[in-house]
């Protein structure tokens, strides 16, 4: 059983372990990188000084909220002085001279960065197979095919795998259409995507600006609350950062709800699902019903349009966000006889297949003559999707869905992009609406691979969302 942040802090406080011993425990696993979950692990001595500082804070009885906690950081967060690549060839030599807002908060709170986690290139993918640094292997194995390698999900696949293999206590991921929740689910972990506008995007390499959101992948719900406390702050430098008053997500996390809770289960999500996945919803319903929680059927009218909408808006924004990678100022440059050739050679060589596909789709849907038919229409549908959620939240407090329509699949199994995109069918609507969602492990498939459930809350309801998730986690605790 993996230790939670509060357990680790307790051991550090009562001196049953030192900060250095703890660090080495995780670092030794990270260094092996046996699941390719890191693009880079930090140097042996990188954290020496920080470990000392952390230890002295424990010794003086005044540790910081995340003091000494070893973390993985998705290689999409710019980390000052540490190579940051977005798992792309085009940024493979890029060392930022600035620290992202979110990782700065984690540093301020005393955590120790172990390395930069592998991910899909520019966070575009659902299996972590599009990385320039090769695919990540899911540490979880199928009991029916123990020698096969499964995907960890994506795009934060390296983050999930590194937590699952015990190379870090938690990892920071980003979620654009499910990139935290889906890999958390496939690796048997907790993944939280906060409300859009909660955590600053400043210093995170942009994929789709109106959807990108940072969040933790952790072993347990309480750890997610600890990390959220650190990273969920208003940032003046991100114009879309909300300046509402933040809760303390850890305090009172374990207390019962004062009021009765109503959870909606969208019927339309459960059509054509396999029985393993359906079973997760049934189980959850069963165990939570004891707690004065009512379940009702709800029905979305927009579910069928969510994926198409997402695959217009996200590539459109990406095509523009990625135009800065032109080989002129930093990153890869391939020479050419003239400017056009430099662009062409650099970008052809620097971007992988999936990124190229999405840039082309995005460029197409924004083109003169197609804008109204695709991009503008997609924005209208996005509004309808938001409205659809708000209609349902008039009746219920939370929405319960499976996180993914299936368990982890074998590396190399899904070759066509559309079937890959289908993986995000339950996470994408939440992202389009900007709502918070959390995935937590609910059970195992008949192959013994992890399956997860997603709980969706209303805007900025992370506190209650975490409380409910914690309750579900306790009730669903299953013997692996």
């Amino acid at each position: 059983m993996k230790k939670s942040i509060s357990q680790i802090k307790k051991s550090l406080q009562d001196k049953s372990i030192s900060v250095n011993e703890l660090y080495q425990e995780y670092f030794s696993i990270a260094k092996k990188n046996s699941h390719n979950s890191f693009n880079f692990v930090v140097n042996e001595d990188y954290n020496d000084h920080n470990i000392q500082l952390s230890q002295s804070r424990y010794d003086s009885g005044k540790p910081l909220p995340l003091d000494g906690i070893p973390l993985g950081i998705k290689d999409l967060f710019c980390t000052k002085g540490i190579r940051t690549t977005a798992s792309s060839k085009i940024l493979s030599n890029f060392i930022p001279q600035y620290e992202s807002f979110v990782t700065q908060q984690l540093i301020n709170d005393g955590s120790l960065f172990i390395g930069k986690n592998n991910c899909d290139e520019f966070a575009m993918g659902s299996s972590n197979e599009t990385s320039y640094f090769g695919p990540v292997i899911n540490p979880r194995k199928s009991k029916n095919a123990p020698n096969d390698n499964f995907v960890p999900g994506g795009s934060s696949g390296g983050s999930a795998a590194s937590v699952a293999e015990g190379a870090c206590v938690a990892s920071m991921g980003t979620d654009t259409g499910g990139s935290i929740r889906q890999p958390a689910s496939l690796c048997g972990l907790v993944g939280l995507k906060p409300t859009f506008g909660s955590c600053s995007r400043w210093g995170i390499i942009a994929f789709a600006s109106s959807l990108d959101q940072a969040g933790p992948i952790t072993n347990c719900v309480e750890d997610a609350a600890y990390i959220l406390n650190s990273i969920n702050k208003h940032d003046f430098n991100d114009s879309t950062s909300s300046n509402h008053q933040r809760d303390d997500y850890v305090t009172n996390l374990h207390t019962k709800f004062d009021q009765s809770i109503k959870i909606g289960i969208p019927k339309d999500y459960l059509k054509d699902l396999n029985s393993d996945v359906l079973q997760q919803i049934e189980n959850t319903k069963k165990v939570l019903s004891k707690h004065n929680i009512e379940f009702v059927d709800v029905e979305f009218t927009t579910t069928d349009y969510a994926l198409s909408t997402y695959y217009i808006i996200a590539p459109a924004e990406a095509s523009s966000n990625l135009s800065r990678y032109d080989g002129i100022r930093y990153g890869l440059r391939e020479d050419g006889k003239n400017l056009d050739e430099i662009y062409l050679n650099t970008r052809t060589s620097g971007f992988g297949e999936e990124v190229t596909r999405r840039i082309l789709i995005g460029t197409y849907v924004l083109s003169a003559g197609y804008y109204d038919a695709y991009y503008r229409k997609a924005q209208k549908v996005r509004r309808l999707i938001k409205n659809d959620f708000q209609r349902i939240f008039q009746d219920v407090d939370f929405i319960l869905t499976p996180t993914t329509p299936n368990e982890a699949f074998k590396i190399g199994d899904k070759l066509d992009p559309i079937s890959m995109y289908m993986n995000d069918v339950f996470t994408v609507p939440t992202s389009l609406a900007g709502l918070p969602g959390i995935s937590l492990p609910s059970g195992l498939s008949s192959n013994g691979l992890p399956l997860g459930i997603q709980i969706i809350g209303n805007y900025f309801q992370e506190k209650n969302l975490l409380k409910l998730a914690l309750l579900a986690e306790k009730e669903l605790a299953f013997n692996e």
């Binding site: 600035y98 523009s320 135009s323 800065r324 032109d326 083109s367 003169a368």
Partner: protein, 479 residues
């Protein structure tokens, strides 16, 4: 231009806003720094960097809205204009497209001997400037200076209401004058603070609109005039010899005074505009708009009216003064700090004082701390201590300000002789042996009076008070 043709011209003017920092970053917005000195992570398009709106630019836009009679939109949206160029680090320019901050304004411009003409303005929107590419330093390499990246621009787009080079120059100079008055733009065309794209077509009167060409990036009145004249002739010649105008983007070659079409590759962009997801739409309350109005100050036309009505100045002199805001600052300072007649001040200012400035290649602002001395000089003249002529002679010394005018006059012995007794003696001397002329005067010849005045002034070396000499002479001659 031959009488058979008329021009239809619309202008897109880019005005660089006078703000401390850039439109979306905190880097200084200033001209003349070392290359790539005013560049931060946002300006250079580093991964993960985000724009943050400088609200000062919105305030400047609102000011412009009031001054140019625009509708100030409470809802406007920043969009990305996507294209690749090495001096555009983000790969897109943040601009406004579908929802600009200002729409439907106008300016009334002067026309030679005619009524004022109203030029309608379709819209004005905020956008970032790009950097500069320098291709002529090295045969092999191009150089990029990103200092200008992200500099705030207001693009002001007129309707095609202009019909001559004169119209265009009048419109542009009115615009420049107003923007400088309200402190929105420094108006420095040489440094590129104000530049224009000219859209021009020609037609025979009564015909439908012709095909237009756009001449890019003109940054002086002279070039604007030359470009319009060349381009209109070019189009007329093509049509008259049976050809057709191709819609084109033109460059103006300042060395030859000619326009030439850009290669189609240089402008055939599909900019793929879409709302910038990094920025929220701008939402303004009526209060936020209204609060700007009192900061506007007096506009050039309002000043013109006031100078004519309140100070009783001639229209022409008033126009010269209001042509530059700096002039009005000096003029109004002189008026408010003295009791000299504003008309006198105005004629000295646009006459000898401006002549001095021009001769010595100084700026009008040079006078700002010289006004006390100038006032003292004008007071000495109006109190008849010195003559107008002496005043003009010592003006350069007064402006240079080594000594106060009073000291100067005393030291140089330049006081006007107004002592009656002294003047009477001089006049008596002058009249001696002039019986013939005295008789001429008595028999009705006025001319002789001038002769005597001149003779007396000469005797005082120009210092005699001409009014008094006149008076005493008349008395004596009438005896």
């Amino acid at each position: 231009m031959s009488n058979n043709w008329e021009m239809v011209i619309g202008l897109e003017v880019h005005a660089q806003l006078k703000t401390n920092s850039k439109l979306f970053s905190s880097t200084p917005n200033q001209f003349g720094s070392e290359p790539n000195e005013n560049v931060n992570f946002i300006d250079s398009g580093m991964p993960g960097m985000l724009p943050v709106l400088n609200f000062g630019c919105i305030e400047k836009a609102i000011k412009t809205g009031f001054a140019l009679n625009f509708t100030i939109n409470k809802h406007s949206v920043f969009e990305r204009k996507n294209y690749f160029y090495p001096d555009l680090p983000q790969g897109y320019q943040i601009s406004q497209f579908e929802y600009p901050i200002l729409s439907e304004g106008y300016i009334d411009i002067d026309q030679n001997n005619k009524e004022k003409k109203r030029i309608r303005i379709e819209r004005a929107h905020l956008e970032q400037d790009a950097g500069k590419s320098i291709h002529d330093i090295d045969p092999k390499f191009s150089f990029i200076d990103l200092n200008r990246v992200g500099t705030p621009l207001l693009e002001i787009v007129s309707y095609p209401d202009l019909s001559s080079a004169d119209d265009v120059v009048n419109y542009m100079s009115s615009l420049r004058q107003i923007l400088m008055y309200i402190d929105v733009c420094d108006g420095n065309m040489q440094e590129g603070s104000l530049r224009a794209d000219v859209n021009l077509s020609v037609r025979r009167p009564g015909e439908d609109l012709g095909t237009r060409c756009e001449i890019k990036n003109l940054n002086s009145f002279k070039f604007i005039r030359q470009a319009i004249e060349f381009e209109s002739q070019r189009q007329i010649q093509i049509i008259e010899s049976g050809g057709k105008i191709e819609q084109n983007t033109m460059l103006f070659d300042t060395s030859t005074g000619e326009t030439r079409a850009m290669r189609s590759k240089e402008f055939s962009h599909d900019y793929r505009y879409f709302p910038d997801p990094d920025l929220l739409p701008i939402t303004l309350s009526q209060e936020q708009i209204d609060i700007i109005k009192p900061t506007l100050g007096e506009l050039p036309n309002q000043k013109l009216d006031r100078y004519i009505n309140e100070f009783k100045l001639d229209k022409d002199i008033s126009k010269i003064i209001i042509s530059e805001k700096e002039n009005t600052i000096i003029f109004e300072k002189l008026v408010s700090e003295s009791d000299v007649n504003p008309k006198t001040i105005a004629s000295w200012l646009v006459g000898d004082i401006f002549a001095y400035i021009k001769e010595n290649q100084k700026e009008v602002s040079f006078l700002e701390n010289k006004t006390q001395n100038i006032i003292e000089l004008l007071q000495l003249i109006s109190e008849d201590v010195i003559s107008n002529k002496v005043g003009k002679d010592i003006l350069p010394k007064v402006i240079e300000g080594i000594k106060s005018p009073k000291d100067l006059v005393k030291e140089m012995g330049l006081e006007q002789v107004s002592d009656t007794h002294e003047l009477e003696q001089i006049i008596d001397n002058a009249l001696e042996g002039e019986e013939e002329n005295i008789n001429k005067f008595k028999s009705g010849s006025d001319r002789v009076l001038g002769y005597f005045v001149g003779k007396c002034l000469k005797a005082t070396k120009g210092k005699g008070n001409p009014k008094m000499i006149n008076k005493i002479l008349l008395e004596k001659l009438s005896k």
